[in-house]
Symmetry: C2
Subunit: 406 residues, 2 copies
């Protein structure tokens, strides 16, 4: 009856912790591990996925923060509603109308901690153990991680130049009861591929006869080099589409603000899941973001980001054309933050990664984006987070490695 | 092959959505529903659980926000690490040493979106479908919601004046393989009960021979009217204790900052779960909080909060003694934000709630805090979010209802 009070700092290894089964199925982010390696400032990194910090409007955000705290301090710092700040949801709804011609009501929008949390909430609401879900091949690692916690069976569907392969999707939907398909139609992560409008229509016709949901991750839709937006899947599949959006790429990632758009019956469940997960999203950030959007011209700001990323992207592509072995395939992104390389069969991207690191440049091997163990000869390059000079120097180094290895 | 583009705003009711089974098991927060009812300003509400907004240091937080954005803007607004801002974790670790004599390393601390998210992460890491967990009776509704998503079997364990019933806990641990016990030893929500030090030691001796984890929710540990802290369960059960903490009650809830303390092998899993859930917590808030704690004297601020809450609590208790029927039992909190009422058997708290609302005062029926359908004659009263005048007027109204009904 008298347990000893411990004040040691050494822990005993509890040999038999009983973690939930889902934890054994969830990959730790290889990307975050790599980012630790590349903290060395002499290494030029194309491995991460960060926005260019020079394009964050610190002054505008500081002004917005000072304004809301001055005008409405105690309320801005108090608990708030699970759904999120209504004027911010109204702003998002109006922007969908203006930008994409979509009719979305604020009641169909829930504010989340970045769009990554949308994936967790969607997993909570839809995925039972061993449920079937479909995902792009290669697919976004963050989604693979988030959904893995709910223990689904993944069915990867190939991407080609115009987007997802509709025949392969049809085959998967025929063969299994697929609860949802998750994809990024605009400037996909990791491939940089954008689905054409025709392809979107084809996919809608494949899915229209099923009750499979289309989860449209639109984190990069505003980072569109041409300024011309493509159609949302919600245009075709109103009650079958969930859209996820993010302020991380157009405002600031550190504010952790994203949102999910869903039909009312799904939204009701998402709100319950959100409430149980963390009550509500950071209210201070929500108020700052809305104030910023009200005080500043976000369209001008986005145009500026797109201009810079377009220049950086084209520079990277020019370097690839000029310096890389001809047998290296590459995508030509219409927006977003990534270029995708496919090396000849038999060349290992892990080997390329290791050799590159020795030469002072970090790239990201593509295997974590495959749920079926493929992609051993693929590499993701990020262009948003490097200056032009770093792109030139880094791509020089990287092309030397490739030319030596191949 | 030509699906019609929709631009209607009316949704078809998809009659057969296939939500995950867990959603049917997760209660929507009755509290949040009630809060909607009580938005009417003529109603005095003791139903919620909000801190007193007059005690949020808006000026200090504004200064901290301006400072970090001025000094380190682009970094403060960029993506950051999953674990959280290291200096903030160091501050928390040092405070545990100073306040509770606990040796905690910053590596054993993960920053979360309020302490509610800790519960979601603990659920993810530990609870498989049909796993057994134990919880206080009555238990914190937010925990019941968070854990319900992972579909455990709940075993409620009674609370009495000195804390959790050790005999009943022993019985539950004998009868089932219990993965974790969740409780709030300091100023429990909803009951206001604080476990005595002796009781903590007894509970440790019951649990020491098992591998059941003690999840110690310490949201209210700093809201301690006597200023004397009690022992953390980690003092007894170093490798079996997970502590959750929160800045919501001492700094500001709208910043959504909490943390979880766990032994290294558990922390590793929590970090993976956090990464998959939302990458990392709001970095702007973390930086503001740390700057605030560095610039201001948090001890003085907490002392001020405790002084006000103590006065409000004692006023509420005095009103109960003076005005309520003698057959109403009540707790006498040593801290926190809540008083708990037990009405005589047969008196329905839902009926009391409805009658009270008609008289302009809102109280919270206790049933949502019971996982076994009990508590029909219990009521939670919040004293932190009302001025003294409102407590006097509200308790007058409420006592009239009770005296009429009983």
């Amino acid at each position: 009856m008298n347990p000893r009070i411990t004040d040691e700092t050494t822990h005993n290894n509890k040999s038999c912790r009983h973690f939930a089964q889902r934890m054994a199925k969830t990959p730790r982010s290889f990307i975050r591990e790599i980012l630790k390696v590349t903290e060395n400032p002499s290494i030029i990194s194309f491995a991460g996925g960060l926005p260019n910090p020079a394009l964050i409007d610190v002054k505008g955000i500081s002004l917005a923060a000072a304004t809301v705290l001055e005008q409405d301090g105690p309320s801005v710092l108090q608990y708030s509603t699970t759904e999120g700040y209504l004027p911010l949801r109204q702003f998002i709804a109006e922007r969908y109308k203006k930008r994409l011609g979509l009719s979305v009501s604020p009641g169909e929008i829930l504010i989340t901690n970045g769009s990554q949390q949308c994936l967790d909430l969607i997993g909570k609401v839809f995925i039972d153990n061993r449920d079937h879900i479909a995902i792009e091949r290669p697919g976004y690692l963050g989604a693979i991680q988030a959904f893995s916690l709910y223990e689904p069976v993944f069915h990867p569907v190939n991407l080609n130049d115009n987007g997802l392969d509709p025949g392969m999707l049809a085959h998967v939907l025929d063969a299994h009861r697929v609860k949802l398909f998750y994809g990024i139609p605009n400037s996909q992560n990791p491939s940089g591929i954008t689905y054409s409008n025709d392809r979107r229509q084809e996919l809608a016709s494949v899915m229209g006869n099923t009750d499979t949901l289309f989860v449209e991750d639109d984190a990069y839709g505003e980072l569109n080099f041409s300024g011309k937006s493509l159609l949302s899947m919600r245009k075709f599949l109103l009650d079958q589409t969930i859209i996820t959006g993010s302020f991380s790429k157009i405002l600031a990632p550190g504010m952790r603000l994203g949102w999910v758009v869903a039909p009312p019956d799904i939204m009701e469940q998402l709100v319950i899941a959100k409430q149980a997960s963390d009550l509500h999203s950071n209210y201070l950030s929500q108020r700052i973001a809305f104030q910023y959007l009200h005080q500043q011209n976000i369209d001008d700001h986005i145009q500026k980001i797109c201009q810079v990323y377009k220049t950086q992207c084209h520079l990277m592509i020019d370097m690839i054309r000029e310096k890389f072995p001809e047998s290296v395939n590459f995508t030509e992104p219409k927006g977003g933050m990534f270029v995708w390389l496919t090396l000849p069969e038999g060349i290992s991207s892990t080997e390329v990664f290791e050799q590159s690191l020795k030469k002072g440049v970090a790239v990201l091997p593509g295997t974590p984006f495959y749920t079926d163990g493929g992609g051993g000869n693929t590499i993701r390059l990020n262009f948003s987070n490097s200056t032009e000079q770093k792109i030139i120097t880094g791509m020089e180094r990287f092309s030397n490695v490739l030319n030596t290895l191949m």
